[in-house]
Amino acid sequence: MTTRFAQLPKQRADIHLVAHGPTPTLQDGHGHELLVLNATAAALWSLCDGDTAPGEMVDAVCEICNVDHASAKADIERTLDVLTDAGLLEWVHRG
């Protein structure tokens, strides 16, 4: 993860967040449900635009939630790992 954090997470173009109803889900272009997210994971997903660094996500989460930096970093890394392992995120260089 340390090496990958030099890059920026980006949503795969054909994956969409569907937020109707109580449970947000990630779906492919055919409407197939790929992953069920909780609210925090859905928020992080929305930040995966290929321009926002995980470190910026951690700082922002720390700013609004009463969590320490290490916990926020671990939680965010875990979430991004899950999304990456599911093949929903790609990692790109800034620019």
Binding site: A39, T40, L47, A60, V61, E63, I64
Partner: protein, 230 residues
């Protein structure tokens, strides 16, 4: 023996404030010790009673509950503050958090949603409507980037130019700046021009706006105080 938790409620409409009182007492079990209709009264009541919780609608009679919240924090209040908004507004939510609010809930959350938010706020959580979280994080990141860029421009200013920026913000013209800094009016004009160029703004007014928006003058004061102390 348990101590009952206390709350202060503020809404510009008396009927609404009374409804909030009933909702909080029945849903959360707090004792609502006072109600207020204006931001200034809300601050006064919160400082008088030092309650565990203050629940305020955003729009109060003489201003915003956000400014009331900021005043409470500046005065050292540790009362937990929950703001109740007419509609979920991410920009307003970010301002509320920056002012020190502990929670934000929209009216459409209903009485049970308000009660749940109040309980979570009193337990120490920061309550943000789940669907707004992504928006809020995005805005915070954007704000932080803008602040970083502004600070980087501010750091281009020499110590003397930072002083000039402070004087511009205090409304000094070239002549008064020259007198204050004991330099010629021509030199003062050059300093002002350098400030505008380095901040990448086109007028003194824009420079002041820029400095206020990014709280640069506070940094100047802090840096100055630190230097004097060392």
């Amino acid at each position: 023996m348990t101590t009952q938790l206390r709350a202060v409620v503020a809404s510009r409409h008396e009927v609404y404030a009374e409804a909030l009182r009933l909702a909080l007492e029945s849903e959360v079990g707090v004792d609502v010790v006072s109600t207020a209709a204006s931001a200034s009264d809300a601050v006064e009541e919160a400082e008088r009673w030092r309650p565990d919780l203050a629940v305020m609608t955003v729009d109060l009679r003489d201003g915003s509950a956000i400014s009331a919240c900021r005043t409470l924090r500046e005065n050292g209040s540790d009362t937990r503050v929950l703001l109740l908004a007419a509609a979920a507004d991410p920009a307003e939510l970010v301002l509320a958090l920056e002012a020190g609010a502990d929670g934000y809930v929209a009216e459409d959350a209903g009485v049970s949603g308000l009660g749940a938010a109040a309980r979570r706020v009193m337990e120490g959580e920061t309550v943000i409507p789940e669907l707004m979280l992504g928006d809020v994080l995005r805005r915070l990141i954007a704000t932080r980037r803008e602040d970083d860029a502004a600070l980087s421009r501010f750091n281009r200013l020499s110590r003397r130019e930072q002083e000039v920026l402070r004087l511009i913000a205090e409304g000094y013209d070239h002549q008064r700046i020259a007198t204050e800094l004991v330099v010629s009016p021509h030199t003062a004009r050059t300093h002002v021009q350098n400030v505008l160029e380095k901040l990448e703004v086109h007028s003194r007014l824009e420079a002041v706006r820029f400095a206020l928006d990014h709280r640069l003058l506070e940094r100047f004061v802090l840096v100055g105080a630190a230097e004097e102390a060392s």
